[in-house]
């Protein structure tokens, strides 16, 4: 407020006081939110720990936070029965990432192709609907039979989980391109190929990116379920091995590690998205 400092000294001083007070209130609110958040977590964990120690809930079945923490540190330091913890994390991540990349590329390419080529969409449409209606997680045992205990079967189940949401979003994105934009680029001299590469794909990216967030979670699910059913390495194997030895703390520990891995991946995607969408208005609710 530059013009206000020109006015009398007293009101200006009051203004700045109030500005400061407002800033302080905003800071306090942020602190309060974060503080309450941490307290809630600590409270829940303490309650769990307390109830388990007092044997109100069965510590054998429900375990307790301190045991889970011990399990994680023990895995981290001494390694798991299947080898070092980092190796398990790496295997799961590798399978998920590999499956995700293949699924995303397949989904985007086919989605854009079907969105642009009417004939393909008409021919393949019903088949894709049928495949999508299939509960794809039941394919994991089949992949295990086909591809064996190694990473290939997990990559395959990650691919089928990732492909469909990405495909449908890319397809929708290619279909919903602003018709004016396409007409304009054709008038400006764009060939069909140029329209696809320089108009349809950029317009569909925001659709595709929405699906990327969800689908990375799906890739992790695919890898974990695959490992859970049968594997030689990975976090899913850790879960099933812990379950097999009635080690509840082990199951929870693997879950906690998975959650951290998923959150980190999500953060990375959000960062990439921000870089890629510099052309978009920062606030979508602002009028254009």
């Amino acid at each position: 407020m530059p013009h206000e400092s020109v006015v009398l000294g007293a009101p200006a001083a009051v203004r700045t006081d109030r500005t400061q007070a407002r800033a302080r209130a905003a800071r306090n609110r942020t602190l309060l939110v974060h503080g309450t958040r941490v307290l809630l977590l600590v409270g829940l964990l303490a309650l769990w720990e307390g109830l388990a120690r007092a044997a109100v809930i069965d510590p054998f079945n429900f375990s307790m936070p301190s045991k889970i923490w011990d399990q994680i540190t023990q895995w981290a330091i001494d390694g798991t029965p299947q080898g070092s913890l980092w190796e398990q994390i790496w295997y799961t991540l590798y399978e998920a990432l590999f499956g995700w990349i293949i699924g995303v590329i397949g989904g985007v390419v086919l989605g854009i192709a079907l969105g642009r080529i009417r004939f393909l969409a008409d021919v393949l449409g019903p088949y894709i609907k049928v495949l999508n209606a299939l509960p794809r997680i039941v394919l994991a045992p089949i992949f295990l039979i086909w591809f064996g205990l190694g990473p290939a079967s997990k990559v395959a189940s990650a691919v089928v989980l990732v492909f469909f949401p990405v495909f449908f979003n890319a397809f929708q994105g290619a279909r919903e391109v602003d018709r004016n934009l396409v007409a304009n680029s054709r008038i400006l001299g764009a060939s069909n190929r140029q329209v696809t590469l320089q108009v349809v794909i950029p317009s569909a990216t925001s659709w595709i990116f929405t699906s990327l967030h969800v689908s990375f979670g799906f890739a992790l699910i695919g890898a974990i379920v695959g490992e859970y059913i049968g594997a030689t390495k990975g976090l899913g194997l850790l879960v099933s091995a812990s379950q097999g030895t009635f080690n509840a703390a082990g199951v929870y520990a693997a879950m906690a590690i998975l959650a951290v891995v998923a959150l980190l991946a999500e953060g990375l995607l959000a960062f990439l998205e921000k870089r890629l969408f510099r052309w978009k208005p920062a606030d979508t609710s602002a009028d254009r």
Binding site: A183, N184, R186, I187, L188, G189, P202, W279, K280
Partner: protein
């Protein structure tokens, strides 16, 4: 003009019908006869929603006529010609490209080398007064500035035919007058033939050499009026001239009837 001159655009009995989503056949334009001479500025006015814009999509080659002929420079239109420019009613700039890159798009699509395209784009950005904005993205510009980008992106291709579909209708009144003057300036340097579709009679008289009045939909040509106001014109000034008012009254007696018909149809539909 010699005896066997070829007009820039000629429509002979052109009709266009669309299938509506419900399967019915909707005729947008019927038996359209229209001649646009080289370098002529023709405005097409008609009631809202009568099918004026369809005549532009036929000339541009975006759509083919159901029957009749559309000739550009004496040749039947087959696909989109590379001498055509089209300014759309809505924003049709690429939101993910910067202003400079938007203006470069046309030449780049047509295979002009990058350096040459950038050079030409900069020239046109300077002419529309956006030289300082070349690194901005469209969402950072005002509506009038985005329209300027669209004009630069169209003119950079050196179009011989300039088709404009209510290009300024989304702008506020002052910006609109300003843009109209700028359009006249840009056009007078290029000698392009213009078809300017609008529902605003004032705008059409102020800009054009010839005003074509369309009937209520399905649209066809009702009457053609020559506008004998001297050029160069300033939009805000020319509309105060007595001759302007005279022309306006004359054309409105023809257009007003079609507007009334459209309105009554709307009323019966609503009832």
């Amino acid at each position: 003009m010699n005896s066997h001159h070829v007009p820039a655009i000629e429509l002979r009995g052109a009709s266009k019908a669309f299938r509506t989503p419900s399967g019915a056949l909707h005729t947008a334009v019927r038996d359209l006869d229209l001649v646009v001479e080289r370098g002529e500025f023709v405005a097409v006015v008609g009631p809202t929603g009568c099918g004026k814009s369809t005549s532009l999509t036929l000339i541009s080659g975006l759509e083919e006529p159901t029957s009749g002929d559309v000739l550009v420079a004496g040749e039947p239109v087959r696909g989109i010609g590379d001498r055509t420019g089209f300014v759309f009613q809505q924003d049709a700039v690429f939101p993910w490209r910067t202003v400079l890159s938007n203006v470069m798009a046309g030449p780049r699509f047509r295979g002009v080398p990058k350096d040459r395209a950038r050079e030409r784009a900069r020239e046109w950005l300077a002419r529309v007064g956006l030289a300082a904005f070349e690194d901005r993205y469209p969402h950072q510009l005002s509506g009038g500035q985005r329209k300027r980008v669209a004009l630069a992106a169209t003119f950079v291709n050196d179009p011989e035919l300039l088709l404009m579909d209510e290009p300024f209708s989304a702008l506020d009144v002052q910006t609109r007058a300003l843009m109209s003057d700028e359009l006249l300036d840009l056009w007078s340097d290029t000698g392009a033939s213009v078809v300017f579709v609008t529902h605003d009679l004032e705008e059409s008289i102020a800009l054009a050499d010839k005003v074509v009045v369309m009937t209520a939909g399905p649209a066809t040509v009702k009457e053609v009026f020559a506008i004998d106001l001297p050029r160069p014109r300033r939009v805000e000034e020319v509309r105060l001239e007595p001759r302007f008012v005279e022309i306006y009254r004359e054309i409105w007696s023809s257009l007003g009837e079609e507007v009334r018909i459209t309105r009554e149809r709307g009323a019966t539909h609503a009832a």
